[in-house]
Amino acid sequence: MSSYQLDLLSNLGINILLALSVYCPMATGQLSIGNAGFMAIGAYVSAILTVHLHLALFPSLIIGGITAGIIGVIVGFPALRLKGIFLAMATLGFGEIVRNFFMNFLTPLTGGAYGFRGIGSIPISISWIWGWVAFFLLFFFFLSRSRVGLAMMAAHDDETVSELIGIHIVLLKVSAFGVGAFIAGVAGGLYAHYYLYIEPEFFNVWESIHMVLYVIMGGMLTFWGGVLGAGIFTLLPEFLRFLLDWRGAFFGIAIIGLMIARPSGLITREMLRVSFWTPYRKGVKL
């Protein structure tokens, strides 16, 4: 494979992970526009571990992901009080706080606004990224067929009713938020060790918004939606090179048009229900 194709593939893998990180809290009805913050935490923590403490890559990724996950749980608890747009704004504020943290603190270790250079000398192989993608896809596949998956869906559709039938909504929502943050942290670590350079500006609001758009475009009710959305967002610009500078305008119009045509995304639950991997019994209306 040429290095262009390799870059594209690894980009796709990381974007799929980021889409899943937004999908996970969204599956319980929580919109986070701050996942770039969790990605930054994972990226910086794992890079500090491999560069300054000479730790191996795998434990660094895990520790980076767990750090992001723990902070996700800490943020997730107070976030329980907030819904919809309020939660989106709180997470947006959180993402900006994290970006400013890495801009201004730990600068002897990370280089601050000048960027963190010299994270290893050769990029990690693409199988690292796709190994994690495969792992999380399997995770969500089995999750969606499990009782927890059904509980998440119930929480997404109606919180009060799902609480009444005995679903532990606090545990469910906070852990969904934490798992999402963990995935974003791992994706950040992979990003740092693939591109070997990170700077706080990479993890700005637009990065968070892109992740949300993957999920929304693809369909927010199933994890396949996020995968499809990440695929479209990563690959479509490559096919649109003839549009040159107007690609952004095209994307904007595509988003607006798609929201009008399919407000719940390209893949919906109904589409999955007729297919063979349906987790629901036939004839059961959900």
Partner: protein
């Protein structure tokens, strides 16, 4: 020193207030977060500068640019609000993100991505009141923003359309049963919101002499923060919230260094959401008076 900082904070805060009002009008009346307001703000500055380059005086450029940005918000209404009125509330929000990207891209392509500046507007006269020093331009900008806010408040409280807006804010169904032409009210709300954001853009461009296609993001987010801190859907709350954010920003830079600036602002947003989601004016203003 402190009073000087306070004045600077109010200058900056008046811009945030205008943006926050633009957000809060749509939020309070139509329950919609228009994420593209930041870019409409940017368009205001770009239109204003273009008109001035075309040889118009500032007195003409400001209202013209406000009309243009108001019209751009009507386009947003047509594609991001009207077809999505029955969709879940987050769908219009995401659709306006599409407009953000679109407006920014169009501006970069037609205008260029470099920073530019407004030509000096007035004689560089400095006015000193006791220990406080500010330029004539700053003073006029502040006066203009306050004038716009007062005009808006009167518009909402005293005029027929304003009454319609308040009725739609209560309940769209009831208002339409009572004979309020809600389509007109909605269009008017979008127009006013857009023109205020545009005015904020010109005034910001004048006082900080930065105009670029990327100038909208940060003030936009701070406008949202101001709206939330002041109390969502409440015009007076948005004014207070904007001033508050502006003062906090200037004071934190002045006393704690520039690194503290965004921590203070976004930390405040985060805390406000957790401790007081109804905002500063949330209690004084009863639930019924949404705007």
């Amino acid at each position: 020193m402190f009073i000087q900082q306070l004045i600077n904070g109010i200058m900056l805060g008046s811009t945030y207030s205008l943006i926050a009002i633009a957000f809060t009008l749509l939020m309070g009346i139509l329950n919609m977060l228009n994420f593209a307001i930041g870019e409409v703000f940017m368009l205001g500055a770009i239109f204003g500068l273009t008109f001035i380059h075309l040889g118009l005086s500032f007195h003409l450029a400001l209202p013209l640019a406000m009309i243009c940005t108001g019209a751009s918000c009507l386009v947003i209404e047509r594609f991001s609000f009207r077809p999505l009125r029955n969709a879940p509330p987050l769908v219009p929000l995401l659709s306006t993100i599409g407009f953000s990207i679109l407006f920014q891209n169009i501006t970069v392509n037609l205008w260029g991505s470099e920073r530019s500046q407004f030509p000096p507007w007035m004689e560089p006269i400095n006015i000193s009141v006791g220990p406080v020093l500010f330029s004539l331009t700053q003073g006029v900008i502040l006066a203009l923003s306050i004038l716009l806010m007062i005009a808006l408040d009167l518009f909402i409280q005293r005029t027929r359309i304003g009454r319609g807006m308040r009725a739609v804010a209560e309940s769209l169904e009831t208002a339409s049963i009572l004979g309020v032409d809600f389509n007109r009210i909605i269009l008017m709300t979008f127009f006013v919101s857009g023109s205020l954001a545009g005015a904020a853009g010109i005034l910001f461009g004048l006082s900080f002499s930065i105009v670029s296609p990327f100038m909208g993001m940060e003030p936009g987010i701070k406008g949202i923060a101001a709206m939330i801190v002041g109390g969502m859907g409440n015009v007076r709350g948005a004014i207070v919230g904007g001033m508050f954010i502006g003062i906090i920003e200037v004071l934190s830079v002045g006393y704690l260094g520039s690194a503290a600036r965004d921590f203070a602002v976004y930390g405040l947003l985060f805390l406000a959401l957790l401790l007081r989601p109804q905002g500063i004016l949330g209690v004084i203003q009863p639930e019924k008076e949404r705007i």
